[in-house]
């Protein structure tokens, strides 16, 4: 209608809120969480894949890399990441922010991450809902937090600190766990939701981790999914695991197993299309096999979305 203000048309890839700090003009409300770009079905880029990046046959929709592996002064890994960035969008996935830790943030670490963000312009950045260092010592592991009100407030405040520093929201990932604490006062999914809402951050939902923890602690993975706020889920991880006695271990050394695929279907029914990434960190197969896993995720997404109504 004449006389009314014109609304700018924004294509899907551009519809990214300022809240995510991606540098695009925002036409979405500040509180919308579901408008990260849908990058499709990517793979975790590891050293063995570098030749495919160099000969430009690494034809994934997008790549996720471990941020800390590129916090270096120079050399081949950074060159490879530059090349990968030419091929497809890149996401920085951290393992050492120590979001749940009680040590102060390492400013040098944050500065290195900031430099990586400036250089490689990732579609988004993520880290884990866990702790990994105490007393200045790093375990280089993703250690579980107690699910308490104290921990919600503590982690959410630290996530906000990081987001304020970078001027963008981050995604936090649920980790696999092998123990829970007697002092926990809520289930993991309630904790994850509370942290995400208190911190106003996104969620990287690792479906394999949900399954692994569900088996290890005897909860229902579908109940977990039903407790996750769909609008905050910005990415999904898929991976394989292994069995050790009565426990499942998140080893990332196998194909995605059927129970995890089934849970992925359920997640898609609840959350709609979400950028999905296959992680494979040990006994890594050929790049073609890895891509085949990503293709399977794509096919499942197509099937689920064409067959069902999104319930979230």
């Amino acid at each position: 209608m004449q006389g009314q203000g014109r609304r700018r048309r924004v294509c899907r890839q551009q519809v990214v809120s300022e809240a995510w700090g991606l540098g695009f003009a925002a036409e979405v409300p500040r509180d919308s969480m579901s408008l990260l770009p849908h990058l499709g079905h990517g793979v975790g880029l590891r050293t063995v894949h570098y030749p495919h990046v160099l000969d430009r046959t690494a034809c994934a929709d997008w790549f996720e890399v471990i941020s800390e592996n590129f916090m270096i002064a120079g050399g081949r890994p950074l060159k490879i990441l530059e090349k990968a960035r030419e091929l497809a969008p890149v996401v920085l996935h951290g393992v050492s922010l120590n979001l749940g830790g009680t040590d102060p943030f390492r400013q040098d670490h944050l500065a290195e991450l900031e430099a990586l963000i400036r250089r490689f312009a990732p579609a988004w950045i993520s880290d884990h809902l866990c702790w990994g260092a105490t007393g200045g010592h790093y375990a280089h592991d993703l250690l579980p937090l107690p699910f308490t009100e104290e921990a919600v407030k503590h982690v959410a405040a630290r996530i906000r600190q990081v987001q304020d520093r970078f001027g963008r929201r981050i995604l936090v990932e649920n980790v696999s766990s092998y123990l829970t604490y007697s002092i926990s006062s809520m289930p993991e999914w309630v904790f994850l939701r509370a942290v995400a809402e208190e911190a106003d951050c996104g969620i990287l939902l690792d479906v394999n981790n949900i399954y692994v923890s569900a088996v290890n602690h005897g909860f229902s993975p579908t109940e977990y999914l039903s407790g996750i706020p769909a609008e905050r889920v910005g990415q999904i991880h898929l991976a394989g695991h292994s069995v050790s006695g009565d426990l499942l271990i998140d080893t990332h050394d196998h194909p995605v197993p059927n129970p995890v695929w089934r849970l992925y279907r359920e997640a898609l029914r609840r959350f709609g299309p979400v950028s999905t990434l296959v992680e494979w960190d040990d006994q890594i197969p050929s790049f073609e096999e890895l891509l085949a896993e990503a293709d399977r995720a794509r096919e499942i997404e197509r099937e689920v979305l064409s067959a069902s109504t999104i319930s979230a």
Binding site: E68, N69, M71, I72, A73, G74, G75, R76, P77, L78, K79, S96, L97, N98, G100, G101, T102, R106, H109, W131, A133, T134, G135, G136, H137, Y138, A139, H140, D141, L143, L145, P146, T148, E150, A151, H154, Y178, L179, T180, Y181, S182, I183, S184, H217, S244, G245, D246, L247, I249
Partner: protein, 261 residues
């Protein structure tokens, strides 16, 4: 039992999984904090983390120090790693720095061959060089452009990935596949650098090359580099110095041919 603070819980966790790497050190107060059918179940769950801590970091060290690990053999390497992690737990967010003190740790072990610490120094230098800053390399053409009268005062800069190492043993021979467990001490200068194709290389240097390279690194002009050959007849000294420079250029360790300033 009073609920511990988050800080206290994490301290107990750390003690239980990392204070005695590869050994059982579960704090009784921590067992009580873990849900489980019984204490055996709780300990099993905690041990997933203590095993992961030790094995993951051992694998990192084995990857960074492959020759040291091979020389020690799996059992002794594991024992060294347990002691090392207890003495030098990681203090950096990136695990890449974990092995920074291993050579010094080995040097204190009087029950190990002396050359092992030198070998660790070499392997750590290779790690450092691998991800050192990038730079352009000078070419022979750059050298040809230097007018004859400028040579005495011309200065060269080393690429940032160049490192030198003074070892007490010829450990480069072990690195290349030698297995001389009773290696004879012989002071050995090595240079370690990264080529433009990102390959990490090292090479032994004789005393003259070592002296000349140190002068180049410290910014002294070509005339000073030539002093390393002062014991030779003048013509031979000049020939050796220029030959050395050509080899450095070919190896890609000279980053810039600067002015005489």
């Amino acid at each position: 039992m009073r609920a511990p603070s988050l800080h206290e819980l994490q301290r107990l966790f750390w003690v239980s999984v990392a204070e005695r790497p590869g050994r059982d050190s579960i704090a009784p107060d921590f067992i009580r904090l873990v849900r489980g059918c019984d204490n055996r179940d709780r300990k099993t769950r905690i041990r997933v983390y203590s095993d992961a801590y030790y094995f993951r970091l051992r694998d990192v060290l084995r990857e960074d120090f492959p020759r040291v690990a091979a020389m020690l053999g799996p059992e002794q390497f594991d024992e060294i790693v347990r002691g090392y992690l207890a003495a030098f737990p990681s203090e950096q967010p990136s695990v890449r720095y974990l092995g920074r003190a291993l050579a010094g740790f080995l040097r204190l072990r009087k029950d190990l061959p002396n050359w092992l610490a030198d070998l660790a120094d070499l392997e750590w230098a290779r790690v450092e060089v691998f991800d050192a800053p990038d730079s352009e390399c000078a070419t022979i053409d750059d050298l040809v452009c230097v007018p004859p009268e400028a040579w005495p005062a011309i200065r060269f800069s080393a690429i940032p990935s160049l490192q030198t190492l003074l070892a007490q043993y010829p450990v480069h021979q072990v690195w290349s596949g030698g297995k001389s467990l009773d290696m004879t001490a012989a002071e050995t200068s090595l240079r370690i650098w990264r080529k433009n194709d990102y390959k990490v290389l090292h090479a032994p240097m004789d005393k003259r090359e070592s002296a000349a390279l140190e002068k180049m690194i410290s910014g002294e002009p070509f005339a000073a580099l030539c002093e390393a050959f002062a014991d030779l007849p003048e013509a031979e000294a000049a020939q050796n110095a220029t030959g050395l420079l050509a080899r450095w250029i070919e190896d890609g360790i000279i980053g810039r041919i600067g002015d005489s300033g």
